[in-house]
Amino acid sequence: MADQKLLLLLGTRKGVFIASSDAARQNWSLAGPFCETWPVNHVIADPTTGTIYAGGGNAWFGPAVWKSTDLGASWTHSSAGLAYAQGETPINTVWSLAAGHGALYAGVEPAGLFRSDDEGATWTHIDGLQNHPSRPRWQPGGAGLILHGIIPHPEDAAKLWVMISAVGVFFSGDGGTSWEARNRGSRADFLPDPAPEFGQCVHCVVLAANMPERLYQQSHTGMYRSDDAGQNWHSIEAGLPSSFGFPAAAHPRDPDTLYLLPLNGDTVGRYVPDAAAAVWRTRDAGVSWQALRAGLPQQNAYFGVLRQAMATDRLTPAGVYFGTTGGAVYGSADEGESWACIAQHLPAITSVETLLV
């Protein structure tokens, strides 16, 4: 469609930026910073309304979810109800957002899940997650005890998955009242028991297109696929340059196509292997992998890519995008075959999402 516009929603350590282009995705303009340069961990759009939400937290003013109903031109914020009970450790920041079935979800640090049924004006704590019997034994990862991923089931409003570091994947089939850990098959090599019920350091989980029982996972210790809604995970890391990385992005239509961005390892700098950037793509659900490097820096690239900082768009061919800890954004308009730098010199990129309008 000639009049379609694609927005890249960029969360950064110093505010929200929005890059925009037409459907050709060759020329981009950048707007921002928005949200008063607050540190923002995740920016999403509700595709049914076009409303943009940004979750983060400010060292002075605490956590909030920002909202724009005019594609970023103006913003409001709220944290009404986004709080634990008096006496408990206060919420530090909002880490992840998700929209689905008319609801908006927010994951926070310390790990917990909140829901809004009025487009972010007010929030309610889904306390079933914190009532899980494992809660007293949850241990934080490097970024704290964060709920960093939320996946509403695309068809069933009662089902959702959340991801917590370093606790693992949890699933609810009843709207958040009860939860079960879904980590079987994913390793926790840093624990005495490498196969516990929970305690895995999940980094990112994405849902495959058109297969709501298929999930892909990048964890601290490997890459996995589940074909049974997370009940069992199987390694798909053979053929990749390392087992460590943060982001994952699913193709918008092909459930067998996944994009990862492996880093060199957790103890050796956490940048792209050999300081040469590559996105790795599978077309067969993780059986084989292809390095995609054309247009990406191949020397002296000492950046990482954070867990929410890679995304695909819904155009044909699909676009793929990632933002770096060094403040650059790279994009491909041809499913990863070739890349170009869309923006640079931004603050560290925490999240990348797309919105087609």
């Binding site: 003013f61 944290s79 009404a80 634990y84 008096q86």
Partner: protein, 90 residues
């Protein structure tokens, strides 16, 4: 007797609440009362200044007559309250 006190707000806070003013007079007997009055005028302002313990946020300073205050600090009539953002960040 009026309990009017003067509150001075930081610019970074004003930016979050359209229409908020830097300096205003309100009736309040404690810092908690003063923040409640601010929240009534600009809904959501309490959440920006206080956390859920509840307490003044760690990087927000409230000074009453030149001394750092807590939510319980009593306000003499006519006193000036300075709400300030701490030197923090990066």
């Amino acid at each position: 007797m009026s309990d009017a006190v003067t509150v001075v707000l930081p610019a970074a806070l004003l930016a979050l609440f359209p229409g908020a003013v830097r300096r205003l007079e309100i009736d309040a007997g404690t810092v908690r009362d003063a923040i409640d009055a601010l929240d009534a005028r600009w809904p959501g302002m309490r959440d920006r200044l206080c956390d859920s313990r509840p307490a003044i946020r760690r990087h927000i300073n409230v000074f009453v007559a030149g001394e750092r205050a807590t939510l319980r600090t009593r306000l003499p009539p006519g006193v000036e309250i300075f709400v300030m953002t701490a030197v923090s960040g990066g």
